[in-house]
C-alpha cells in the first residue's frame, strides 16, 4: 500500500465513479501515467515509444491511435487529439475493465457487447465515415501480417476480399451480380462478431494494490 498523496483524492473519487474503477486502481493508473509521460500532465504519442514491449506488437499504431481518438472519450466527439490528459487516459482504459457478467441482465450484456465492439470498430474505421471499407479492412490484415514481408502483402488482399465476401453473405444475403457491397457498417459488424462473445474476452486485469508496478 503505497502512500500516493501527489494528486487530489476527490478528483480521483469523481473519476472512479465515472469510469467504474476503484480508487486504488485509479491511483495505480495515475502512477503509470506519470511514469509514461515523464512526470508531465499530458501524454503524447512519442511517449508510447518508451514502452519496449509495445514495439513488437503488429498493431501498435492502431492501439496508440485509439488512445488519441476522441470517439473513445465517451463524449460523442470525433477527430483525434495530439495529447491526452489523465482523465482521458482512464476513460479509454475503462473500455477494458472486467465486468461482473453473471449479475447482468441480457440487455445489459448486449449493451456491454456493443460498447466493446464499438471500440474495435473505431479502431478499424480510421476515416470515421461509419463503415469499414475494403481498403480499411485490407490495412488491418496487412498490419496483422506485417512481419511476413512480400507474402503478407499479396495474401492480405485475398484475405480481405474473402472476409468482405463473407460479411456480405452473412449480412446482406442474396445479391445480384451487379450489386456492390459498400462496407461494413456497425450493425453488420455486430452481426458477424456475435459469436465471439466479446464481453467475456475483452478485458485485462487491473491491479488493486501498488506492489507489482515497477
Amino acid at each position: 500500500m503505497g502512500t500516493l498523496f501527489s494528486a487530489p483524492d476527490d478528483h480521483f473519487q469523481d473519476l472512479s465513479e465515472k469510469t467504474g474503477f476503484s480508487p486504488e486502481q485509479i491511483q495505480i493508473l495515475h502512477k503509470r501515467f506519470k511514469q509514461l509521460s515523464n512526470e508531465e500532465d499530458l501524454l503524447r504519442r512519442d511517449d508510447f515509444n518508451n514502452i519496449p514491449d509495445l514495439a513488437c506488437n503488429p498493431i501498435r499504431t492502431q492501439i496508440i491511435e485509439a488512445f488519441f481518438d476522441k470517439r473513445n472519450f465517451r463524449q460523442n466527439a470525433v477527430g483525434s487529439v495530439e495529447e491526452i490528459s489523465f482523465e482521458q487516459f482512464v476513460v479509454v482504459m475503462s473500455h477494458f475493465r472486467p465486468v461482473p457478467l453473471h449479475n447482468m441482465t441480457e440487455e445489459q450484456r448486449e449493451r456491454m457487447r456493443r460498447e466493446k465492439l464499438r471500440f474495435l470498430f473505431n479502431m478499424h474505421d480510421t476515416d470515421n465515415d461509419g463503415t469499414i471499407t475494403l481498403e480499411e479492412y485490407k490495412h488491418v490484415v496487412e498490419e496483422l501480417l506485417s512481419r511476413s514481408g512480400a507474402i503478407g502483402k499479396e495474401t492480405a488482399k485475398g484475405i480481405a476480399d474473402a472476409a468482405m465476401l463473407e460479411v456480405a453473405s452473412i449480412t446482406v444475403g442474396r445479391m445480384n451480380p451487379e450489386d456492390f457491397y459498400e462496407g461494413i457498417t456497425f450493425d453488420h459488424f455486430l452481426k458477424i462478431l456475435k459469436d465471439i462473445e466479446i464481453e467475456t474476452k475483452m478485458h485485462i486485469r487491473f491491479q488493486n494494490n501498488a506492489c507489482a508496478l515497477c
Binding site: 498493431i59 503478407g152 495474401t155 465471439i196 485485462i204 508496478l213
Partner: protein, 676 residues
C-alpha cells in the same frame, strides 16, 4: 427386428467358440509359440504333410482346425458383436434420445453376460492389463490430439484446482467417513481398516474421462463447462495414481508416517510433471519425424499413433501418469504435425483416432456389463448406500467450496448453474473398476466388497446422472455449444483482440497472462517452428495458414456439392447443352419430368454455376495452392459431367420437387463483386 436376431445369433456363436476346446479332441495345442504342432491323428489340416506316416490316407479336401485362430477369432467376434449392437441400438431412435449410449451398452453387456452364464461358461472379466494397455490409450489420445487447447489453457488454474484439490478432498472425505461407518457394529464391517477405506476412497474419487466423454458429447454443452469437467477428468489421473500406489503399499504395512506423506507429495509432482515431460519429448520427436515424410505420405499417420503409444508406455514404465503423457503428447504435436502432413493423412489420422476410440469405448461399457455378471460379489447394503451418498455429497461440497475460492481469482465467475453441472457431471467409470480389480486378494480380503460397491457406484452415476443430465441441462437452460464454423472474420478479429489486449496490458505496465502467451507464441515462431515444420510452412503466419485451409476446404465442399466448374467464364447454357447430348440414352426418363420442372432445374444450376465460379475465382487468385486447386478443378470437371447426367436421371425417377433441389444445390453463399 432382424438385427436382434443377428445379434442373438452372434452371442450364441461367441458362447460356442468359448466352449469349443471341449469337443476338439484333447491333445490339440494351439501353435502360439509357433514351433511345435501336435494334432490328433484323425484331424489334419490341409497344409501339413506327414512324411513319417506311411499309411495311405485320403487327402483331406476340407479340414477343421479352430484352435489356431481361436483367440483372434474371439476378439474379432466380440468387437463385431459390440458394433452390431451399437448399430442395432440406433434403430430405436426414441430410446437413444432418452438414454445415453453408455447406459445401453452396459445393459447389452449385462444381457450378454447373463446369456454366457446361463449357458454355463465363465464370462470374461475386464482384465485390468487389457484395459489400461489396450482400451484406454485410444480414447485418451483422441481426446488429447483434438483438445481445444485455448480454452483449456485459459482455464488451467481452475481445472488444476478441481483435479488436484477436488480429488484429494473426495478421497479423504469418502474414505474417512466410511471408516467411521465401518466402526459401527451394526454394519458388520469390522475387517475394514482406515487405510483400506482411504484406498477405496481414492479409487472412487476420480472423475472418469471415458464416462464424461460418453455423456457430455451427446448433450452438446458449452465449451467452458466441457473443458472444465473433461480437463478435470484427465488431470486427476496423476492424483489417483499417486494416492492409489501410496495407500496400496502402506495398507499392507498398516500405518503411514509423516515422511511418507511428504514423499507422496513429492511423488505427485514427479508423476505429473514427469508424465507431461515424457509426452512432450515424444511429441517433439513425432513432429520432427513428420517433417521428413514428404515423399512417404502413406506412413504419416503411423508415426502419430506409434509415438503417442510409446509415450504412454514409457510413462507407465516409470510409474508416471500415462494419461497426462498421452494428453501432453497429442496436444503438443498437433499443430506441428498438422502443418506437415498431407490433407489425406490428416483425414486418416482423424478417422482412425475416432474409430479406435469408439471401439474402445463400446468395448469398455460392454465389458463393464459382462464383468458385473461375472465378478465375485459381496453385497453389503450399508457399505454400498453410504458410498453412493458420500460420493454425491462430497462432490457437491467440493465443487461449491472450490468454486468459492476460485471465483476470487477468475474474471469470468462460475455461476451456480455452472457449478451444478460441474458437480453433476462428475461421473465415475471403468478406471475405478479396473483399479479395484488390480487389488490382490491376499492383502485385501475385502476386495469383493469394494468391487461390488464400485460397480454399483458406476451404475448409479452412469445411469441416474447420465440419463438425467440432459433434461436438467434443458431445464436449467444451460448454454449449449455453438455449432458455427470459425469464419475468417472471427479469426482476424480474434487475432486483433489478442494483440490489442497484449498492447493495452503493456501500456498499463501489467505483465499478466497476455504477455506470457504472446511471448510464448513469439518464441515458438522464432525457434520451434523452424525445427519442427518442413519447408516454407514454418514461416507462414497463422492467419495465412488458416485462410489457406479455409479456402481449400471450401473449394472441396463446393466441388462436392454438385456444381460444375468451368475454367472459362463462358455461359453455362453451353455446358448444359453438351451434357444433354450425353444423356440421350436417359431421354426416356427425362421426358417424364414436366417441362417447367426441367426449366427450373436448369435455372438453378445456371445461377449456382455462376456464383460458385465467381467465388472460386476470387479465392483461387490468391491462395498459394492455386495450381493445385485448378488441377483439382480440371480433374473434377470430367467427373462432374458424368455426375450431372446421373443427377438429372435420378431427378426424373424420383420426381423431386424444385424446392428440394434448390436446398440441395444452394450450398454456396451468394456472390460479392469485388472492384479492384
Amino acid at each position: 427386428m432382424c438385427r436382434w436376431q443377428w445379434d442373438v445369433g452372434l452371442v450364441m456363436l461367441i458362447v460356442m467358440s468359448n466352449a469349443l476346446p471341449a469337443c476338439d479332441g484333447g491333445t490339440a495345442a494351439v501353435a502360439l509359440n509357433g514351433t511345435q504342432r501336435q494334432w490328433n491323428g484323425t484331424e489334419r489340416t490341409p497344409f501339413q504333410h506327414d512324411h513319417a506316416n506311411n499309411s495311405k490316407k485320403t487327402f483331406p479336401v476340407l479340414g477343421f482346425n479352430y484352435d489356431h485362430v481361436r483367440t483372434h477369432f474371439q476378439i474379432s467376434l466380440w468387437i463385431l458383436l459390440a458394433f452390431l449392437m451399437k448399430l442395432g441400438l440406433q434403430l430405436i431412435p426414441r430410446l437413444s434420445c432418452i438414454v445415453p449410449e453408455s447406459c445401453l451398452l452396459i445393459v447389452v453387456g449385462l444381457f450378454v453376460g447373463l446369456v454366457i452364464q446361463v449357458v454355463g461358461e465363465e464370462p470374461p472379466v475386464l482384465d485390468s492389463e487389457f484395459f489400461f494397455l489396450c482400451l484406454l490409450p485410444p480414447i485418451i489420445l483422441d481426446a488429447g490430439y483434438f483438445l481445444p487447447l485455448r480454452p483449456f489453457m485459459e482455464n488451467l488454474g481452475t481445472i488444476l484446482m478441481f483435479a488436484v484439490l477436488g480429488t484429494l478432498w473426495n478421497a479423504f472425505f469418502v474414505g474417512g467417513i466410511l471408516y467411521g461407518v465401518c466402526r459401527l457394529d451394526s454394519a458388520h464391517l469390522a475387517g475394514v481398516d482406515l487405510l483400506a477405506c482411504l484406498l477405496f476412497g481414492s479409487m472412487v474419487s476420480a472423475v472418469d474421462p471415458v464416462a464424461v466423454l460418453a455423456v457430455f458429447e451427446e448433450i452438446h454443452i458449452n465449451e467452458l463447462l466441457f473443458v472444465l469437467v473433461f480437463g478435470e477428468s484427465l488431470l486427476n489421473d496423476a492424483v489417483t495414481v499417486v494416492l492409489y500406489h501410496l495407500l496400496e503399499e502402506y495398507a499392507g504395512v498398516g500405518s503411514v508416517s509423516a515422511q511418507d506423506v511428504g514423499l507422496g507429495v513429492l511423488s505427485f509432482l514427479v508423476v505429473s510433471l514427469g508424465g507431461v515431460l515424457v509426452g512432450v519429448i515424444f511429441a517433439v520427436m513425432a513432429a520432427f519425424t513428420s517433417r521428413f515424410t514428404l515423399h512417404n505420405r502413406v506412413i504419416e499417420p503411423l508415426f502419430v499413433f506409434l509415438y503417442s503409444y510409446m509415450a504412454y508406455l514409457s510413462a507407465e514404465v516409470f510409474h508416471l501418469s500415462g494419461i497426462m503423457a498421452l494428453i501432453a503428447c497429442g496436444a503438443t504435436m498437433h499443430p506441428y504435425v498438422e502443418a506437415n502432413v498431407s490433407h489425406k493423412s490428416h483425414t486418416t489420422i482423424k478417422y482412425f483416432l475416432k474409430m479406435w476410440s469408439s471401439v474402445s469405448e463400446t468395448l469398455i461399457f460392454i465389458f463393464l456389463g459382462v464383468s458385473t455378471v461375472a465378478g465375485p460379489h459381496l453385497w453389503n447394503w450399508t457399505f454400498v448406500t453410504v458410498t453412493i451418498l458420500l460420493c454425491l455429497v462430497s462432490r457437491v461440497l467440493g465443487v461449491v467450496g472450490l468454486t468459492f475460492i476460485i471465483n476470487k481469482f477468475r474474471v469470468i465467475k462460475l455461476t451456480t448453474k455452472d457449478q451444478f453441472i460441474v458437480a453433476y457431471g462428475g461421473l465415475r467409470g471403468a478406471i475405478a473398476f479396473s483399479l479395484g480389480f488390480l487389488l490382490e486378494k491376499e492383502h485385501f480380503p475385502m476386495r469383493n466388497l469394494f468391487l461390488t460397491a464400485i460397480i454399483t457406484l458406476i451404475f448409479f452415476t452412469v445411469f441416474v446422472q447420465g440419463m438425467t443430465i440432459r433434461p436438467l441441462v434443458d431445464l436449467l437452460a444451460v448454454k449449449r455449444k455453438q455449432d458455427s464454423k470459425h469464419s475468417i472474420n472471427e479469426e482476424i478479429h480474434t487475432q486483433v483482440l489478442d494483440h490489442l489486449l497484449t498492447g493495452v496490458a503493456h501500456v498499463c505496465g501489467h505483465y499478466g497472462h497476455h504477455h506470457w502467451r504472446d511471448k510464448l507464441t513469439r518464441l515458438d515462431k522464432q525457434y520451434v517452428k523452424k525445427w519442427l515444420i518442413a519447408g516454407q510452412r514454418s514461416e507462414e503466419p497463422q492467419l495465412i495458414a488458416f485462410y489457406r485451409t479455409l479456402a481449400v476446404n471450401q473449394a472441396l465442399e463446393l466441388l462436392e456439392s454438385g456444381g460444375e466448374m468451368l475454367p472459362s467464364a463462358g455461359p453455362s447454357t453451353n455446358s448444359l447443352q453438351t451434357l444433354k447430348s450425353k444423356t440421350q440414352e436417359n431421354d426416356q426418363s427425362l421426358a417424364r419430368i414436366s417441362k417447367d420442372r426441367k426449366e427450373e432445374i436448369r435455372r438453378i444450376l445456371r445461377t449456382n454455376l455462376q456464383s460458385t465460379e465467381q467465388k472460386l475465382h476470387s479465392y483461387s487468385q490468391h491462395t498459394q495452392d492455386e495450381a493445385w486447386t485448378l488441377r483439382v478443378l480440371h480433374r473434377k470437371q470430367a467427373e462432374m459431367g458424368r455426375k450431372m447426367s446421373i443427377f438429372l436421371a435420378d431427378a426424373a425417377k424420383l420426381q423431386v420437387s424444385p424446392v428440394q433441389h434448390r436446398s440441395r444445390l444452394a450450398s454456396a453463399p451468394q456472390i460479392y463483386n469485388s472492384r479492384p
